[in-house]
Subunit: 287 residues, 4 copies
């Protein structure tokens, strides 16, 4: 029985790896997400019927596949220990829940939204991207903390200085934080600046220094995280495959050690040879 499950799992995996099948599933999920979500396009009811049929078929495919994967594992604990298995399981369960009743319409609509996450179940590249995103979170957290400190100090100074000019923008620190975020996105920031410059003509220093610092920290965060994530991915790939520059260097590093030991042995032998040679020479000559 277990053998059959593993065999079936392999068949399903082969079907999934098929590019045409992948593109078909992606198209169905996207279109059904748009159609069900929007409910405004004037689509031929027959086409809509076919689309919904395919959408249910895909959910069924996922359901059957996940059941087979659960059977193929020795036990359920081992199955749920892998994060992505749990993710797939929840998505399938949410997709098959019958939530069409009117009394819980909002919940039903919210749950239906998450059906689009079936895309992550079918496209392995999206898992790689999400993994990269997840591994970047700790670093993002620390840089967000630094950004919060910078925004907070500017917001506190701004709310003290500009509160009487425009309480709608600088009324308290929370409002000032939002105003600063708006300035950081360059959204009509000159209007805000011109308003305060009428009272404090030098207040442009506040705005321009903030824009410089915020842009630097924001770019630092984004580019730093992206580059680190990319580098980590590449190093991981290179280490696993022994390919590329890093792989070649690693190969040389290991073999250099072997070569060094060999050369040490060779020098030892050579010096022994020279000594015995000399002795032999002497013996030969003495004889």
């Amino acid at each position: 029985m277990a053998m059959t499950a593993i065999e079936l799992r392999q068949r399903f995996q082969a079907l999934r790896a098929n590019k045409v099948f992948e593109i078909f599933v992606i198209s169905v999920i996207i279109f059904s997400a748009l159609v069900i979500g929007a409910k405004t396009y004037e689509i031929d009811p027959n086409i809509l019927q076919i689309l919904l049929f395919f959408d249910y078929a895909i959910t069924l495919f996922f359901l059957v596949e996940i059941v087979i994967r659960m059977i193929a594992e020795p036990n359920l604990k081992a199955f749920f220990r892998k994060g992505w298995n749990l993710f797939d399981f929840i998505i399938v369960v949410v997709s098959i829940l019958p939530v069409e009743q009117s009394e819980m319409a909002l919940l039903g609509r919210l749950l239906r939204i998450f059906r689009v996450l079936r895309l992550v179940s079918i496209v392995p590249e999206l898992r790689v991207l999400l993994n990269a995103f997840v591994t970047a979170i700790p670093r993002m957290g620390y840089v967000s903390l630094l950004m919060f400190i910078i925004f907070y100090i500017y917001a506190a100074v701004g709310s003290i200085l500009f509160q009487h000019i425009n309480p709608y923008l600088w009324g308290n620190i929370s409002i000032a934080l939002l105003t600063l975020f708006r300035i950081a996105t360059f959204e009509s920031w000159t209007e805000i600046m011109y308003e305060t410059m009428e009272v404090y003509p030098l207040s442009w220093i506040f705005y321009i220094s903030f824009i410089f610092v915020a842009a630097f920290v924001f770019l630092n965060m984004m580019i730093g995280i992206v580059l680190e994530t990319l580098q980590r991915e590449h190093e991981k790939f290179d280490r696993e495959h022994g390919q590329g520059e890093a792989g070649e260097i690693h190969w040389m590093r290991e073999h250099a050690e072997i070569m060094e030991q060999r050369m040490e042995r060779m020098e030892q032998m050579l010096s022994e040879l020279t000594t015995t040679r000399c002795k032999a020479e002497k013996n030969n000559n003495n004889r």
Copy 2:
């Protein structure tokens, strides 16, 4: 006959590689594209006449050159197998089509636009850039998919929560997707936020989290693709030329293997030498 075609092709290639000729052709194409397209500049009719003459001359040059390249190839199949040959052929054909009749004015105008693509035929660096663009498409596709999922979830949540506040912006998921794209470009996004914050004071979490996630994914996509493309180009160049850091490492990697084999042989010989030496010693001493 074929020999002459190949000779002629070489002459045309030499003319093309000429920088002065290249700059002249680029100028003529750009100016005629602007003049023909705009039809509003008040240009001296004589200068316009000369410009049009040069423009036709360049198209003729391309026509003659492509015919020679076709003759120089053993057969037409081999010629059209290369993507860029097909591209050049279509551009030349489109450029010489006589589409000035009034009844198909729109088609004529659309076809004339593509004459500007003759620039790609004359500047080899543009082909390199377009190649880089084309090779980046698969990765772009997957990150676009991830972006679609993020945009879709935010659009669905936004359309459920904010539909009654402003149906013009959040009426259905399609409209909400467009609104979110607008927010991602920071286009008057604070107005949209302030409007919903009057009803839901905490809705800034929705906007700011979206801006963070969208900016991260977008920058990840762009920077990741650019860096990967650049790296691939460099690696390809280094591998072909054996130059640079990667080239030097690759050379060492290959030669390290040869050196290792040589040292193995040397150690073998040395150990044999020591053994025979000892035997000889013994023989010598025993005698």
Copy 3:
């Protein structure tokens, strides 16, 4: 006594390294910063009381810890020689100053703002980020100088050409500098351009060339600084730990020298061996 101080310091360091303690302290500092700063949230007085209690407790913890660190050092000079010690000391002193009197309310409010910097005292990653920021300042200074030159030349040309069109935007070089900064952030720059294009139809060249040059220099500055800082961090880490590609290469570089010397000695010995061998042969043969 000093031993006990060092022991106590180690205990405090162990407590600080605790992740749960770190997250708790970060939460208390952020919430008390928002609550004290904003004074607008309608929070249950009891919760506020607890929050303030924890806030004072953290300051007390910092005070006790810094006193222990001061005692643990051989003398105060050695303590204050480290920049971060001085930073922590000032933050603690500012945090415990009793500045609630109404006559110096503004000073008190400004001082309270800086309590948020206790976050930098508790999170070592923030120190790394701030260090990176500080080391980037010299390079930032030079690129800012280049940007000033570019902005100044454009501002001067702009104020000469456009002064009579809109003195509010181009009245003198200082105002024009601010206007150009606004254009560099794309803030309603087309309005400014359309206004001057009515008088000088070719003035779009001024704006578009400025946007290109400013964007290039700004991106150059930001990306260059970020990449250099990242690279320096990585190199420092690799050099200290001997890990990664750079570490492996450095190891090989050093050992290659040792191997080369060893091979020189081996060749010497071999050539001696061959020479004496030959002599011995001759001796043997001659005998």
Copy 4:
């Protein structure tokens, strides 16, 4: 005489390398540039007098220094062959021209603007940055050409489709090019889009595809150029100093060749040794 000139030049170079002197000169140039340019700050006439005095003193310093550099060179041709010498010479000549007469006020004001370029004469880091900028121009040219093609095709299509909707934005290709540049900077682009979407509901495809393509090409251009320039700088530095990863690899690459040749010689000697050894053995044994 020439010796004295060279000695004097060295003294001037020593003075220039002095950081305090550099910062003083930078401050004077910037403040005088702002004061002379703006002519609006209400500054104490005495301070203005001192500032102008220092400004003239710096120009005099530059004049004397450049004359000494000219004398120190064997002839004037050798002096002017270096681009930066010519640059410094023109800046000094422009700075000392007496252009205060009213009849050529505009020229005088334009010339005075360029006095700020004396900063480039005094700060060597700015020359490095400008060099990087100049070396990036060819690549920038090609990517600008690609961008022109993309903008042109979109502009032509846009002017054909949207001309009747808003001739002010899409009237002809030139105007459409400007409108597209505005869209690429996200300047009120949604207004433009909503206007055309009333007539063509699917025209959002036009705008969003354009923003994606333009952002990709623009970022590709900027990041690619910055990275390439940085890399070239680093490689140049590493090659010259033999430092860093690239330097270590280059050292190893060269020495690996020497080692390989040495090992070839050693193997030769060893194999000879073994052969003669065997012969000797035979001789010994045969005897």
